[in-house]
Symmetry: C2
Subunit: 344 residues, 2 copies
């Protein structure tokens, strides 16, 4: 009975390696965490023992003891939006190359969830934080700054704070897109707005208004309908626009998902795109290119934004005193099949 447990096998620890190799466990620790001044012969024996035993460092313990956790927290609003997924892909690609792992928090835009997650992350769950288009609450950004915790904001700026930011030229992109519509001959242009808590939404609307004004087209409040960056919202907004007596000849949606919703509503109404009405999106998510008709849209370098954000964060991790950087990447009008000259 004595020793005959069917206990689960235990993972080997540095202690096991110490016994196995004949050195103290502090030497093992040094060796395994890449300390320079270890006699080559010692290192060799230790590494050999580690491999033989199948040793894998326990990150929790490492991080508790003051080392890095090699985990990056990523806060996303949702997973049901290809725009987010694209950014996530970029993040993941770059993280993979750098031996960091990713701990994912989906806030679903729930009240307070962002703040809770941020607190958890700061408290040792990860070495750094990537915030994708968050509803910024001053409270947690403050906490982040107070603790000097490394983070990067993606596609959301926060002017008041000295934060690292990666974003795109929303205003300019919206301006160019609107101008494209105007030059085609459109003057009754509807706009499906995004979430007003997000900078990107505000900037796109601003670009839209600016282009209108620069080309002498009066801005009509009634043509701007609220949306939520989701398909459902774009669908509803478009129905509203379609119910007017003076239906717009073109609709600029604040993002592709809204545009896809708009297409659905328009088709349901029996109208043709782009013959009867033109549709323009923003983001260039993968669906935009396979949709029918193929969506003309403003491309954001989503993937690259994710990658740049990771690079910034990792740099900051290596050099905590580095200057704060705000990176703005260019958007670009992608002309496909959903826009044409107005019918009337």
């Amino acid at each position: 009975m004595a020793e005959e447990t069917n206990k689960k096998k235990r993972m080997p620890t540095i202690f096991d390696i110490a016994r196995e190799s004949g050195f103290s466990y502090s030497t093992v620790s040094r060796t395994l965490s890449g300390f320079e001044f270890v006699k080559p012969s010692t290192r060799e024996k230790i590494v050999e023992a580690a491999e033989r035993l199948g040793y894998v460092p326990n990150q929790q313990a490492r991080s508790l003891a003051g080392g890095p956790s090699h985990l990056i927290g990523v806060l996303v609003p949702t997973l049901t939006n290809d725009y987010i997924i694209q950014i996530l892909q970029g993040i993941d690609d770059e993280l993979t190359r750098s031996s960091y792992n990713l701990i994912l928090y989906t806030t679903n835009r729930h009240q307070g969830t962002e703040a809770t997650y941020v607190a958890t992350i700061m408290n040792g769950a990860a070495d750094g934080l990537l915030l994708v288009a968050p509803f910024i609450t001053d409270s947690y950004l403050e906490a982040l700054n107070e603790r000097d915790f490394p983070y990067v904001l993606i596609d959301q700026d926060y002017e008041a704070e000295d934060s690292m930011v990666v974003k795109a030229t929303n205003r300019e992109g919206a301006y160019i897109a609107t101008q494209y519509l105007i030059k085609m001959g459109h003057s009754r242009i509807g706009f499906i707005a995004g979430l007003p808590q997000l900078n990107s939404a505000i900037e796109r609307l601003a670009g839209f208004r600016e282009a209108l004004s620069d080309h002498g087209i009066p801005f009509r409040e009634e043509y701007v309908v609220p949306g939520n960056f989701e398909m459902r919202g774009g669908y509803r907004a478009t129905r509203e626009l379609l119910a007017r007596s003076d239906v717009p000849t073109a609709i600029f949606a604040a993002n592709d998902l809204s545009a896809l919703g708009a297409i659905e509503a328009i088709r349901e109404r029996g109208l043709r795109i782009p013959l009867d009405i033109s549709i323009l999106g923003f983001d260039d998510i993968p669906q935009a290119a396979v949709a029918y008709p193929k969506l003309t849209t403003v491309r954001q370098p989503l993937n690259q934004m994710g990658r740049e954000a990771v690079n910034l964060l990792l740099k900051r991790l290596q050099n905590p005193d580095m200057d704060m950087v705000k990176l703005t990447l260019n958007t670009q009008l992608i002309i496909r099949d959903s826009c044409d000259i107005p019918f009337d």
Copy 2:
């Protein structure tokens, strides 16, 4: 100079709460981790102090000391496939409801990466593991079982081991889909295969062959071309099929992505879908419904598969001795616009 550091603020620990509330830190620990037998007045004071200080438990320490980490590891092959994303969404939804967090490992199907990650996860990084369509290596499944580490296989079975599995009726789905094509009048049906390391790919091919045989249509080796479950592979496979003298009148792709690639190749060739050639997919990813023409496909309940897997895993976490379960969910033929009767 004495006390004037600009040191970062430290996060409060149970020790701080102990001091603040006047109880020992073990009482604080008990209270905060939901121990029952604490005097209400004590609990109240402790909780109050914790809130006042903005206490957040340090998961690393918790887990190191033997508690749960409240982290579930999720191993996915890639993020560039909506099939994976759908499963991931299901996982995330269910995990969110249960206060677990998700640590994501993307293997990119790299040699050895799966095994390395699994070792890390077992070694305290997470309480349980979800494996999405992995290339199973006996080595790590063995390790998982040896250590009695809770895990669930999603969309990949491993007959030899007593593992928890959530999958779908691949063979049946492929059978029904093939039959649908046959009844339409097709007899020259091409098949774009999936990755041979995955059960799902094997079962779908089996279902295809079985339907052919049951309907007296000879199986032709040349009509089965290798694919890789990606768009690129579907594209290449289709070009190969199209180069034949006896071009198939229909192509059944082992997954939607391959089907999308097929559509591209066919269109490039100047042929019409479904007039000249019919296309059928598998999975029903979101893109399938917006593609042009809308893709007829076999739907897998991807989202649900993710959710069921989480439920199984959490149940197992609560009750380590529960029976191993293999869950098989139904697939379903979704008829849209990409298939029609053969032209010739």
